[in-house]
Point group: C2
């Protein structure tokens, strides 16, 4: 199928795709915040840095309700480009996929049913103390993953956390991976220097050098990560003992993969990353370059194409704005796989356009 | 099967049983507290009234972890008889049933993953204001039910709320049902007079007469009910549009049924009550007498038999202590139905005995 690109570890990607075809996924949206998002120039996941606290709960509300409750309209970038949750919502609706929202540590709680894991919002990683009680959050997430795996054929786990590529870089560097200049961004001009400086400030504050926390992901998250990483990794470890798990996201999923690999190498064979073409074709980041340092895990990409869309807000995705988030790529992959390909990308894009127009009209 | 008794509306009960046979349930445990439980003589769901706040979270922990975290040991009655969650846990384990914990409003939060609905603990119904923001809690629960129904063949919903038969009586009387002397109790000597006096105090404080809130269940819960009733009813309304729902409990499920019936009559045909033989044979209560006033809904009962158990704590159930709770009856019914009867009640009782001995040893 041209609608799903086998981007990395192609043979394994095909095996994974075959395994999920015609199967029923459960979509899990993990939300969290980190104060790191408020550092000037880091995140475009909100019209301004202060409002990024509302982006994760608003994204989650959009998935479950088809509209946001905690903010008017939908989350947008400073340029007014809408949240990728719009893509996810459309894919989940088309495929009638059950959706569970998990709060790993969001400053603002969504006004919908959500699973609480007792996590707290992440701190500014420049302090060197990023996530309190990481081990507890991880273990709680494992228990959740075990239960969820009994209620579906496989799991798709997406995330919404502004600032998440910077904390991803933090965990990757602390664990010793060569990740500088390789994480993605919701901006077309990837602010690598700000991210690197932020992480280096944090490493200095924590007294950690590159690679000091090799194979110690929980410590790496605690000092330089965010609550999402611990939570998604925990759910995946709990679930992947039994079912396949699609980590639905861009480079933010690489520290998740590093965590899973360090803590339970055996389950990694049930894990894949599902993202968008905007990530795999991004000249400013290098997702496969990171993944290949961690484990032989396949990367699949949804070939979503807004080039011929009449909506400027969607066309902007083609210019490298937003790119991915809230499991956009993974949700489209699983929707198409569930349909055995009878659902085409054209239908998915039409649904996205329809929802976009409806939501923008109602603002 | 003699292991499942078709107790009320026998034909419909058989149809319901046929519908769930060999199917995969999702078990939902809804927890909440009400200050009403602390009125002297009302509840035996805890060694003493103050500790009943810990019973719902401890029950939920037992289901997910096989042990409690927020208290040592397991919840017991003042006589030391263990929680019915022991039965539920055993049935869920034997049948490998996915389990989700939902907090409708518990004073103490369980130390496990749980779904939060933004509900608050219930107040003493003698004040006439029992549950704040009932409508919001109900609507949130409907959204949850819609999502959960996509992830299973059918739902089994149990509850843990000490004092819940008194709040059940409150809702039933406010809605005009003939329920005095008909609700059950975790005590062998059912304190009907205390319950009736408590409800009458509440009705007086709220300025409500018997039947004033006919067909207005949300108002009845707000004044005289508890958060569990609104939550279970909402989940059921959301889910029963699509799948069957087994309300797993004793007479506490009758105000739930009255709420569902008043708000969405159409879905009632997908609903049944699943309980234990200790409820259906209870000389001090009358579950079918209440149900038949509401809707032609079947009642099934698990024929659990501890008469020949060597464990005194379990034999006590045969003397009318505890009787039901935490979806004990419904979880056993669904475990046996899932196995197409290849699992026998004897096996279930052995599993319960094994878990009981293990948990008592570890205290």
């Amino acid at each position: 199928m041209d609608d799903i690109i086998l981007f990395h570890e192609r043979n394994r990607a095909q095996v994974f795709l075959d395994r999920i075809e015609a199967r029923n996924p459960l979509f899990v949206c993990v939300i969290a915040t980190t104060e790191t998002a408020k550092i000037h120039g880091i995140s475009a996941a909100g019209a301004n840095p202060e409002i990024t606290d509302y982006t994760p709960p608003a994204d989650a509300e959009l998935l479950l309700l088809g509209k946001c409750k905690c903010i008017p309209g939908v989350p947008v970038t400073p340029e007014g480009i809408p949240t990728p949750a719009l893509v996810t919502m459309s894919a989940l609706r088309l495929s009638n996929t059950p959706t569970i929202v998990v709060n790993a540590g969001s400053k603002v709680k969504p006004m919908i049913p959500f699973i609480d894991l007792g996590g707290v919002p992440g701190k500014d990683i420049r302090t060197g103390i990023a996530v309190e009680r990481t081990e507890e959050l991880f273990q709680n997430s494992v228990i959740l993953g075990e239960q969820l795996s009994k209620a579906c054929n496989y799991l798709v786990i997406g995330e919404s956390i502004p600032g998440g590529t910077t904390t991803a870089l933090g965990v990757l560097l602390a664990m010793g991976f060569d990740a500088k200049g390789r994480v993605s961004s919701s901006k077309p001009d990837n602010p690598h220097e700000i991210k690197i400086r932020t992480v280096e400030d944090g490493m200095r504050a924590a007294g950690i050098q590159h690679g000091d926390l090799k194979n110690r992901p929980i410590d790496a998250i605690e000092h330089l990560g965010d609550p999402m990483i611990a939570c998604v990794a925990g759910i995946a470890v709990g679930a992947a003992k039994k079912v396949s798990v699609l980590l639905a996201g861009g480079t933010q999923m690489t520290p998740v993969l590093a965590t899973i690999t360090a803590l339970n190498r055996k389950v990694v064979e049930n894990v894949a990353i599902g993202t968008t073409r905007w990530i795999t074709q991004d000249p400013t980041s290098d997702i496969d370059g990171i993944v290949s340092q961690i484990a032989p895990v396949p990367i699949l990409a949804a070939n979503i194409d807004f080039r011929s869309s009449k909506l400027a807000g969607l066309q902007a995705y083609e210019a490298g704005i937003v790119k991915e988030g809230v499991g956009a790529g993974g949700s489209v992959i699983s929707a198409i796989a569930k349909s055995r390909g009878s659902m085409t990308m054209k239908q998915v894009v039409s649904e996205i356009e329809m929802n976009y127009e409806m939501l923008m009209k109602s603002r």
